[in-house]
Amino acid sequence: MIIETREFTRVEGNGKAEIVIEENEVKDVRVKIVEGPRFFELLTLGRDFWDVPDLEARICAICYLSHSVASVLAIERALGVEVPEKTELLRELGLIGELIESHSLHLYLLVAPDLFGYPDAIRLATKHGELVKEGIALKAFGNRIRDLIGGREIHGINVKPGGFGRWPGWEELEAIEREAKALLTVAKRAVRLFSGIGEYGGKAELFVATDGYLTGDSLISNVERNFHYFERIEERPLVYSFAKQSLYSGKPFLVGSLARLLLKAESLTPTAKRLFEENRERLEAGWVSYNNLAQAIELVYALERAGEIAKTLLDKGFEPENVPVEAGDGEGIGYVEAPRGVLVHHYRIAGGKIEYSNIITPTAFNHAMMEGALLWEARNLYGNAPEDELLRRLEETVRAFDPCISCSVHFVRG
């Protein structure tokens, strides 16, 4: 017998799951990504490198800037371009804005209704209007940063190889420093709210992240440091999904907020670090549901870090200046932490044109782990709870991964 869920709601993109039952036991769970294929790598082949980041941004709206930055980093590495610290800091600021926009969307509008037993944030707002408004204020702030650095709230084209189309001005950075400080209280409340979340989705044992907090030169995990994705991680196509599945040394693994906190807590800002320490024991247990709490702690980190970056640039002063980029040959990988986990863009460029391109998104990295988490929940609840409760819990488990299904459906064969 197979129980099929409806298409997941309050997640980005189209997907569902089926639970395979044999002899009254849960044998298997399959996560079926039904979102159609998107062919992004094929689209970039033969293109001029300069135009590619703008196209790659369109892979995903929630994390378009992560795609732009990963694409730009891969191009710069391939063409031997180094940018100054001010450019790196502004890119980081953009990624921080994206983290705020994405995490607040997920926590307040997609997950919070579950905590209070509502079908959505609009109905939740009838009783908890302040909470929803706080989430919207955070999301709007994250988007203001994306607009400033990326050029638009969604799919901006301002992040370019070598620098920016338009550089932010002093007053704009001052406003960010001020608003980040003002919103910190809200984010701290989010940590209190989400520290009440239950334990579900099973325990993850393997975690992968980039070596820097939001960008990196290579990957790290809880069993080894500094490796490239192609050395350890294998992707395989599935007959029941438009997204491929990745295994790390043959095993499922977790990327995202929880993995980042567990692997890189020493990089956190002071308040975020304190909140991590307070919750360390629970987070270290590895429950998938605690990814929600980890995201709330990262909201605090992001607001503190946004203020720090703005202040550093304002104190030091900077002149808008782009590094010239010449068309040439080379190969490069851009590693970025998208809000929901490790994102890889890998290109080979010949004469300024893209010759090979490979992209692996966080949801693809998490795909196998997601099936593992659903299997754990299904085994736990099947026969012990009514079917509608089982299905609701499976949906909540999927939601804890904050999947970005649109991103996950466009891989090219490596």
Binding site: R166, V409, H410
Partner: protein
């Protein structure tokens, strides 16, 4: 009035952009009840006064969702360039079989994929709002107009005009950048020239009197090769000079 939002295959941005109305979302909710919108609610509706549909038809699943959305909506809006013109994912010019093989590695099609096409090629829509993403103010105004019984106004000017109104420096003339502003439908408030970069044409061609052949010659005159220009023209809306 009852509102439904339906997502086919896309980046999620057109559904998300609706939520980015922030406080004005509550103004929309003065007129509309959101009955179905899987990114935002777990509810499912039956019949809709207005349906918004985003994305391309890229699988049989998408086609079924689209037909349901059309049948159950009195007024259907194709929202965003995927739905109106096909956008990036429809611009890869290879037979479907070859595309699937390049991505998934075998010649089968177990998930019943279709060659990505815009919504408007399968059903009649009452309004098409392009943009990658569309301008959220345009959607806001359209929804309010429909609620009041007024037919929404469609922009009929190029991006170039908005650029001039904002007094941005002309990136085509002054910097020689490949800018599609003169032949692209306006409504984005010249988002790309605002960043000092050329318009990438994400809102598709300006209908009516427009001169893509002239644009083609201008870009050729600036030293861009024909293949490069053609790809630029075709990226979002598969148009030719």
């Amino acid at each position: 009035m009852k509102l439904g939002v339906f997502e086919l295959t896309d980046c999620g941005g057109c559904a998300l952009n609706f939520l980015f109305l922030y406080e004005r979302l509550f103004d929309v909710l003065e007129f509309y009840e959101i009955e179905e919108f899987h990114m935002a609610t777990s509810l499912e509706g039956k019949h809709f006064d207005v349906g918004l549909v985003t994305g391309t038809v890229s699988s049989h699943r998408d086609l079924e969702v689209l037909r349901e959305a059309r049948n159950r909506s009195d007024y259907l809006i194709a929202l965003g360039t995927c739905a109106t013109h096909g956008c990036l994912q429809a611009s890869v010019e290879l037979p479907l079989k070859e595309k699937l093989k390049a991505v998934y590695g075998d010649e089968g099609n177990p998930m019943r994929a279709l060659d990505p096409k815009p919504v408007v090629e399968y059903v009649t829509v009452d309004l098409a709002i392009p943009g990658c993403p569309y301008d959220k103010n345009e959607l806001f105004q359209a929804l309010i107009d429909i609620a009041k019984g007024i037919e929404p106004v469609r922009p009929d000017y190029p991006v170039c005009l908005e650029c001039k109104l904002n007094e941005y420096e002309c990136v085509l003339v002054k910097k020689g950048l490949p800018c599609l502003g003169p032949i692209t439908l306006g409504g984005c408030n010249a988002a790309c020239p605002r960043s000092g970069l050329g318009c990438i044409g994400c809102r598709g061609p300006l209908p009516g009197e427009v001169n893509p052949a002239g644009e083609f010659e201008v870009l050729k005159g600036l030293g861009y090769d024909e293949e490069y220009i053609m790809r630029k023209f075709k990226t979002f809306a598969r148009w030719g000079p």
